[in-house]
């Protein structure tokens, strides 16, 4: 080992004597952000899929409204300076601010907003589902989105729904991103509405423009010098593909990058000790959960599902496996959203679980399988749950695989137990959680409603469906809050197929001299406010 280092250092020292010394830190007017970019497949806001892409586009495109970084339920003006809901709750009218321009210099008009929304539904790609859920389709887009004048956008709701959730939807990157229709249509190819061009070009009005995207290498964002709002602090943002957590940590410690987004818990923990680096944790979207398949006759028995609830070591998992990734949560609505009840306080209770299993007809437990993605923290959580299940007599064999394998099995409804992550939450509205985690409008195999985790688990409860639907259209706010509280209580009683044990949080490490970094939930952080204090 020593010899190897010696041999290597001889080679290296010999050759590096020739080279110039490296800079000690990143340039003062450039922010360097490192994360794994393997999941970035396109930069077209209508087609994006992962949070990595959201992190890029949040800085390029403006929305009508913006979601508050701290107070999740709050919606702030962005391109729209105000909005109002019609008395009968069927239409929302947005008033655009004057003077906002796209990076091209074109003014932001109501026509651009309407065009962007229609484009989203016409292309019908990944991000369209946010609006399709609420009844918007390519066919009704013409009536749903109108621009009576240059600065007014009217959205007519195709079906009865809480208008607030629509306003929030327009605040998230993807469905709400406003595109420069003139520039995009100049690059329309065979009616693709500019999709091919937007894969690696941008046409937004945000604080930065896309300079360059090199797949698995880097994204360069350049300051939009004609940005209509407060001038961005950094001239350039360099986002670098750094697949390895260890590399991110080394480069962050050395000052070669300013912010590291996808580090492992071990590396984040090690960085807590450094005085040059700080760690910030903020709420994310969705939950970590244990899911059962209702296709399996054992799990059809409520007593068995209840027993499982007491065979999870909630506190232990959150103390050992989930720091930096999750925060203890056992209810199906994320904390901070309106109507969210405090935790039910479930605890590991082996005796109670054993009694329940005996009542269900399994005094000696049973054997089953437990699926989990082979990455952290899923694998560790699955191992911990396997151990507590064993205490109750349930022998669970762990099956690991890639995301495609694990969630693929769930989509096929061919699994028994599964540790997963999901459950909506991109919108700060309880409906976003509930619809993803428990709602299931049609339980038939042929329905293939794979976008609902409720369907994937084959859990069907008419009452909870109608409660979720009713709460969403309730216009009396106080009543709506009560409705969501009632759903959570009912959720606890009806023992659905998914039991959350934590809600997702995101953690980033950054250099201590970086000021103004306010993490937004779900990687939608706007880096406009970031400056360096040196």
């Amino acid at each position: 080992m020593h010899r190897m280092i010696k041999a290597l250092s001889t080679i290296l020292v010999g050759s590096t004597l020739l080279t110039s010394p490296a800079w000690a830190e990143t340039p003062p007017n450039m922010l360097v952000v490192g994360f794994s970019m393997s999941n970035i497949l396109t930069l077209d806001p209508a087609a994006i899929t992962g949070k990595e892409t959201v992190q890029v586009l949040a800085n390029i495109y403006d929305n009508l409204v913006g979601l508050d970084a701290v107070n999740r339920a709050q919606v702030n003006p962005q391109l729209a300076e105000s909005w109002s809901v019609s008395p009968d709750n069927t239409a929302i009218t947005f008033k655009l601010r004057s003077g906002a321009t796209f990076a091209s210099g074109n003014p932001v008009t109501s026509a651009d907003v309407v065009w962007s929304l229609k484009r989203l539904l016409t292309l019908n790609l990944a991000q369209a589902s946010f609006l399709k859920t609420h009844g918007f389709t390519a066919a009704n887009a013409e009536q749903s989105f109108t621009a009576p004048d240059e600065t007014t956008v009217v959205i007519t709701l195709p079906k009865k729904v809480d208008p607030e959730i629509i306003v929030q939807t327009l605040g998230i990157v993807g469905p709400g991103s406003v595109l420069d229709s003139k520039v995009v249509m100049e690059h329309d190819k065979a009616g693709d509405l500019g999709s091919a061009w937007l894969t690696n070009n941008s046409a937004g009005s945000g604080p930065y423009t896309l300079g360059q995207w090199r797949s698995n290498e880097r994204v360069i964002l350049d300051r939009n010098e004609s940005y209509w709002g407060e001038a961005p602090g950094m001239k350039r943002i360099m986002m670098r593909h750094l697949a390895e957590s260890q590399s991110q940590r080394l480069m962050l410690e050395k000052g070669d990058i300013d912010i590291a987004y996808s580090m492992s818990a071990a590396d984040l923990k090690a960085l807590e000790k450094s005085d040059k680096v700080e760690v910030q944790t903020n709420g994310g979207s969705g939950f970590y959960y244990l899911a059962v398949s209702m296709k399996d006759e054992k799990f059809q028995k409520p007593k068995v599902r209840e027993a499982l609830r007491y065979l999870i070591d909630y506190q232990g998992l959150n103390d050992t496996v989930l720091p930096y990734f999750g925060r203890l949560r056992d209810r199906p609505i994320q904390t901070g959203l309106f109507g969210a009840l405090p935790n039910a306080g479930y605890k590991l209770d082996v005796e109670k679980a054993k009694a329940l299993l005996a009542e269900a007809g399994y005094p000696d437990g049973f054997s089953t399988t437990l699926r989990a993605i082979s990455d952290a923290p899923f694998m560790n959580a699955a191992t911990a749950i396997q151990a507590t299940l064993a205490q109750g007599g349930i022998k669970a064999e762990i099956i690991t695989g890639s995301g495609d394998q694990i969630y693929g099995a769930m989509r096929e409804r061919k699994y028994e137990l599964l540790v997963g992550r999901g459950g909506g939450g991109q919108l700060p509205h309880p409906d976003s959680n509930l619809r993803a985690i428990v709602y299931n409008p049609d339980n038939a195999d042929e329905a293939k409603l794979t976008n609902f985790q409720g369907w994937r688990t084959a859990f069907y409860d008419e009452k909870i469906n109608s409660m979720v639907d009713a709460a969403l259209v309730e216009t009396d706010k106080a009543k709506q809050v009560k409705d969501y509280e009632a759903i959570q209580t009912y959720y606890a009683d009806v023992l659905p197929a998914i039991q959350p044990f934590a809600e997702v949080v995101d953690s980033v490490g950054y250099r201590a001299d970086i000021k103004g970094l306010a993490l937004n939930p779900s990687w939608s952080t706007r880096l406009r406010t970031v400056t360096k204090e040196r």
């Binding site: 280092i5 290597l8 393997s38 589902s129 360099m238 590399s247 293939k448």
Partner: protein
């Protein structure tokens, strides 16, 4: 005579063609048997059925497998390598971008590997069972058996983080990105052409560590092979005869024994270079090196078969090319093959 030569050439071309087709079929089967879903990669976890089916139709993933295969091959014959799902770019453009990064890395590595490996191998053979042989064998054993991502990580910690001798991940420091025009894609050449020596030295600084570590690992292999080839020769009777005849030791070694192993050495160096060009995915990942290995692996992981098949085809062509090259070198080194 001409006819015979022509048919020999025809046979060779036929073999190459069959090899490439076999390679394509095998890759396609493996790629499709893998539990990855390119459509899911595009539409994401939350997409509904309608979106899924629309995208499947657009990229042709709804067709039966054999039709997908024939479509790829027929496009290929028209000179169309397809568009990568993952990058949205024509695959050929992607490859032209990632290949120079890998070639820079591999070439530097093979210079280290062969430049040190061959002399060390000969030295070890000549001083068989002497201390220097043990040291060399120990070094090569480590180089051969240590996982390269671990060596890479240790290298980063020691030479980048602790000693500050070399650059970290990537081909060049951030503040130099985009400063020199991409003429050839080879950063070292481009920066020389632009006369920007700061960028040149920074690129060298970033290249040194990953290339040395790759070079160390291929050095280990080349040294061990050279040693065993050489020992084989040194044990032959002609060596004893030559020495008895009064030929000096160095002349015996270099003019006779070494001359006889040149052909074998060419083969192993060519193969080692080939496997470096194929991409050292682990080193590329550890050093965030945007090369061919990462490209092919990431595309494999999302089932981007246009890109994967074209890459595999390229790897096949590289190996065939290197084989032809080493055949040509045989003819120079070994009169019997002429």
């Amino acid at each position: 005579m001409n006819n015979a030569r022509f048919s020999a050439f025809g046979r060779q071309a036929g073999t190459i063609l069959v090899t490439l087709i076999g390679l394509l079929i095998l890759t396609f089967c493996i790629g499709r048997l893998m539990p990855v879903d390119p459509v899911r990669a595009i539409v994401g976890e939350e997409a509904d059925r309608a979106t899924y089916e629309m995208v499947a139709e657009r990229i042709g993933a709804n067709l039966p497998l054999y039709q997908q295969f024939f479509k790829y091959v027929s496009d290929l014959l028209h000179g169309d390598f397809g568009v990568s799902i993952r990058t949205g770019q024509p695959v050929i453009n992607d490859i032209l971008h990632v290949m120079p990064a890998t070639i820079e890395l591999a070439t530097f590595a093979i210079i280290v590997g062969a430049g040190l490996g061959i002399p060390l191998g000969i030295l070890a053979a000549v001083r068989r069972n002497k201390p220097v042989d043990h040291v060399i064998r120990f070094l090569t054993l480590i180089g051969h058996s240590m996982p390269i991502f671990w060596t890479g990580m240790i290298g980063l910690i020691v030479f980048y983080a602790a000693l500050d001798l070399v650059g970290g991940g990537g081909r060049v420091s951030d503040y130099y990105i985009g400063l020199v025009p991409e003429t050839t894609g080879f950063l070292l050449i481009d920066s020389m052409l632009a006369g920007d020596w700061e960028v040149f030295w920074d690129a060298v600084n970033h290249l040194l560590l990953p290339a040395s570590i790759l070079g160390y690992s291929s050095m280990a292999y080349i040294t061990r092979m050279t040693r065993s080839f050489m020992l084989d020769q040194l044990n032959q009777e002609y060596v004893t005869t030559a020495r008895v005849k009064g030929l000096s030791k160095s002349r015996t070694i270099w003019h006779h024994a070494f001359a006889n192993i040149r052909v074998q050495l060419v083969t192993i160096v060519a193969l080692a270079y080939g496997s470096l060009l194929e991409g050292a995915v682990l080193i590329e990942t550890v050093f965030s090196w945007p090369g061919f290995g990462q490209y092919i692996t990431n595309n494999m992981l999302v089932g981007d078969m246009n890109a994967v098949m074209t890459c595999v085809l390229l790897v096949g062509v590289i190996f065939i090319g290197l084989n032809l090259l080493s055949d040509a070198l045989y003819k120079i080194f070994d009169p019997r093959t002429r």
